[in-house]
Symmetry: C2
Subunit: 360 residues, 2 copies
C-alpha cells in the first residue's frame, strides 16, 4: 500500500521533520507517532493533535514524545485506523464515524443523528456504559480509545440552492462525515460522499459536489466553503455533538509504564477539554463574519426536519438488524439519553427559552 | 485562629491520616495539602478532590503528592481561601462564589444568575478573556486558579410550600451558594444564608431554614433534603452552570518544576472533566428516584421568573457601580455570552425543541 511505502520511505528523520516538534527537556526515551485525519489548517482539530503532543512532552519532562502528523503527512486521512489496528502507527487521532465501513458501531463513539449533546456524550462514556461498551468494540481492532474533544453541535452545511422541502435534497451530491447519517440522507435522495476535510473545497469548487457539511463556522470559514455556496443551514440534526478519539494501539500501550499510561489519558483530557472550549469560543465570531460577508443563514423548514427524523429512525432500525455490535451500544445510548432529556427539560432548555423570550 | 492551631496540632502524620492516601509508587519528593469546602459524602464535589489527588500521584509516578481533605478536616469549609492566600495551605478546592465577601468578582469564576452554560463557561475562560481577567483578580490574593469541574445547570431548590408568585418568596430563610444571586433573591424578600453543604440538612431539619438550594438531584438526594421539603423547583436561573476551582498558592506553585506545573494543570483537567460528566450522568436517575419517592417537581411560574430576572439585572448594575473588578470581568462575560446565545439558537436550542415536539 502507498501508505506503508510512504512511512518506510520517509524514515525517522523525515517523519520527525514533518511533524510537530514538541519542546524537548530531555532526550526522549519513547518516541511515538500520531497521524490524524485532519488538515493542518484547522486550529481546532489539528490544534488538538498538537496540544496532545505538547502535553505528553510537558507531563513527562520530555521523556515521552508523540509527534503529531496532519492528514497526508504519513498516510491518507482515512488510513489512520488501519495503521493503528496493524500496529504500524501508535496513535490515530480521528473521528470514529469515518470508519463505519469497518463496523457501523464506530459511529457511536463520534456522532449519530439526534444523538447525545456534547455534555451528555462525555457523561455516557465516563459514567454511563458507553466507555465500556466502546472499549469492547475497539479491542476487537487491537486498540483502545481515549476521548478527545467534541466539535460541539454542528451546522447542517452549505448548499448552492435553498432547501424549502425534502424534494430539494433529491439528487444532491453532498459531502458528509460518514456513518449512519449518510444512510439517512440517502433515503432522502442525497448522494453522500465521505471526503476528508482537506479535499472538500476543491471538489465543491470544481462542481463535483453540490453541498457540503463539515463542522461549523470556525472550521468551515477556514476551509472556504462560503466562497462556493451561499446558503448555510441549521440545525445539523445529524451531529448534535461529535467526539474525536485518540486511538492507541494495544501492544504499544501495554509496553508503557503506569506513569506513561496516565500521561496518555491525561493528555487526551487536556487536549480534548481545550478543543471543545475552542470550538465553542471560535464559532460565534466566525458565524458573524460569514453572515457579514454575505452568507445566508437559514433554518431547515419543518418538513425537512420531519423527513430527516423519519429517515434517521428507519436507518437506525436497519443498522440494529444488521449489526449486533451496533444494536447493543445504540440501545444503551438511547436508554441513557432518556434521562438526559428529562434533565435538559428542567434545566438548560427552559432557561434558554426564557432568555430568548426576554431578548437577552 | 482555630484553623491554624488545628493544622499545627494535627502534625504531618495526622494530616496525612485524615486525607486521602494516593497510590504511592515512590517516596514523594513533594507533599502538598488540599482542603475543600465540600462534605466527604458527595462523590461529585469530594470525588473531584480525590481524583485530582490520584491524578497528581499517577502522573508523577508517586513523586508529587497532594492529599485531599474534606471540609472541616483541616479547617472550616469557608476558611480554605484565606489559608491559600496566606500560604498556610497549598491548594483550596472550592466554589469561588462562596467568597464574594472578599471580592464580588469572585462570583464570575463560578456562577452568576442568567450566566454562561457549562460548555460556554469553559470557552470564555480558555479561549475568551475570562481566564486572563480572573487570573489578574486572583493574583491580588496570591493564588492562581485551575478550573475544575462544573456542576452542570442546577435546580432551583427545595421548598416546604408551593411558590405560586413572587409574594411566596417573601421572608423565606433560604440557604444559597452566595454571591450576586443572594442579593437578587434578597430583593425578592428572601433572607439568604450561606451555609456550607455539610451543614444544611441539620438547619433545615431543625427549622432554622425554610428552603434550600444546593446543587441538583445527585447531591441533594445524598444530603437528604427530600426528607424535609416536598417541592423541588426548576429552573435554577441563578446557576445556569457553576465551575469549581483549584486555587493554588503562588509561592508554592512557583517552586515547582515545569513538569510538576504541567501535572497540576493536567490534574485539574482530568478531575474537572470527570466531575462534569459525573453530574450529568448521576442527576437523571437521582431525579427519577426523588420523584418516585414523593418529591413534587415544579416549574417556577412566569411571574417568578420575571421577578427573578428583573431583580438580577438590578443587582448586577449595583455590583458594577460598587466594584471596578466586577464591572470589568462581568462586562466581558456578557459580551462573550451574546455570541454564545447566537450559536445556541442555531444549534442546541432548536434541536432540543424539535426533539421535545416529537416526544423523543
Amino acid at each position: 500500500m502507498d501508505r506503508r511505502s510512504l512511512i518506510k520511505g520517509a524514515g525517522i528523520a523525515g517523519v520527525l521533520a514533518a511533524g510537530v516538534a514538541p519542546a524537548v527537556h530531555a532526550q526522549p526515551a519513547i518516541r511515538w507517532r500520531m497521524a490524524t485525519s485532519f488538515p493542518k489548517s484547522l486550529p481546532t482539530l489539528h490544534g488538538a493533535a498538537v496540544k496532545f503532543s505538547e502535553t505528553v512532552s510537558a507531563l513527562s519532562g520530555g521523556k515521552f514524545e508523540v509527534s503529531a502528523h496532519a492528514a497526508g503527512e504519513l498516510m491518507p486521512a482515512l488510513g489512520v485506523v488501519d495503521a493503528v489496528e496493524k500496529g504500524t502507527l501508535e496513535v490515530a487521532y480521528t473521528a470514529a464515524y469515518y470508519f463505519t465501513g469497518k463496523n457501523p458501531a464506530f459511529a457511536l463513539s463520534c456522532a449519530i443523528p439526534w444523538g447525545l449533546r456534547t455534555i451528555a456524550m462525555a457523561a455516557w462514556k465516563r459514567h454511563g456504559n458507553g466507555g465500556k461498551l466502546l472499549a469492547e468494540l475497539f479491542n476487537k481492532y487491537n486498540f483502545r480509545a481515549f476521548t478527545g474533544g467534541n466539535t460541539t453541535m454542528q451546522m447542517a452545511g452549505w448548499y448552492r440552492k435553498e432547501i424549502n422541502s425534502p424534494e430539494d435534497l433529491k439528487g444532491l451530491k453532498m459531502r458528509m462525515g460518514g456513518g449512519v447519517f449518510g444512510n439517512a440522507m440517502a433515503k432522502l435522495g442525497v448522494v453522500p460522499q465521505n471526503l476528508p476535510g482537506g479535499e472538500i473545497y476543491q471538489a465543491l469548487e470544481k462542481g463535483s459536489l453540490d453541498a457540503v457539511e463539515f463542522v461549523g463556522p470556525a472550521d468551515d470559514e477556514i476551509l472556504g466553503f462560503q466562497k462556493v455556496a451561499k446558503y448555510y443551514y441549521y440545525p445539523g440534526w445529524w451531529e448534535i455533538s461529535a467526539d474525536t478519539d485518540y486511538f492507541v494501539n494495544n501492544a504499544a500501550y501495554d509496553k508503557l509504564s503506569d506513569e506513561n499510561k496516565a500521561i496518555i489519558a491525561a493528555a487526551a483530557d487536556v487536549a480534548g477539554r481545550d478543543m471543545t472550549a475552542k470550538y465553542q469560543a471560535l464559532n460565534p465570531p466566525a458565524l458573524q463574519r460569514l453572515v457579514a460577508g454575505g452568507t445566508q443563514l437559514k433554518a431547515f423548514p419543518k418538513s425537512v426536519m420531519d423527513a430527516g427524523f423519519k429517515a434517521s429512525m428507519e436507518s437506525f432500525e436497519e443498522e440494529r438488524e444488521k449489526s449486533e455490535d451496533f444494536k447493543k451500544i445504540y440501545d444503551d445510548l438511547r436508554e441513557f439519553q432518556k434521562g438526559q432529556m428529562l434533565m435538559d427539560r428542567v434545566t438548560e432548555l427552559p432557561v434558554m427559552e426564557y432568555m430568548r423570550s426576554v431578548k437577552f
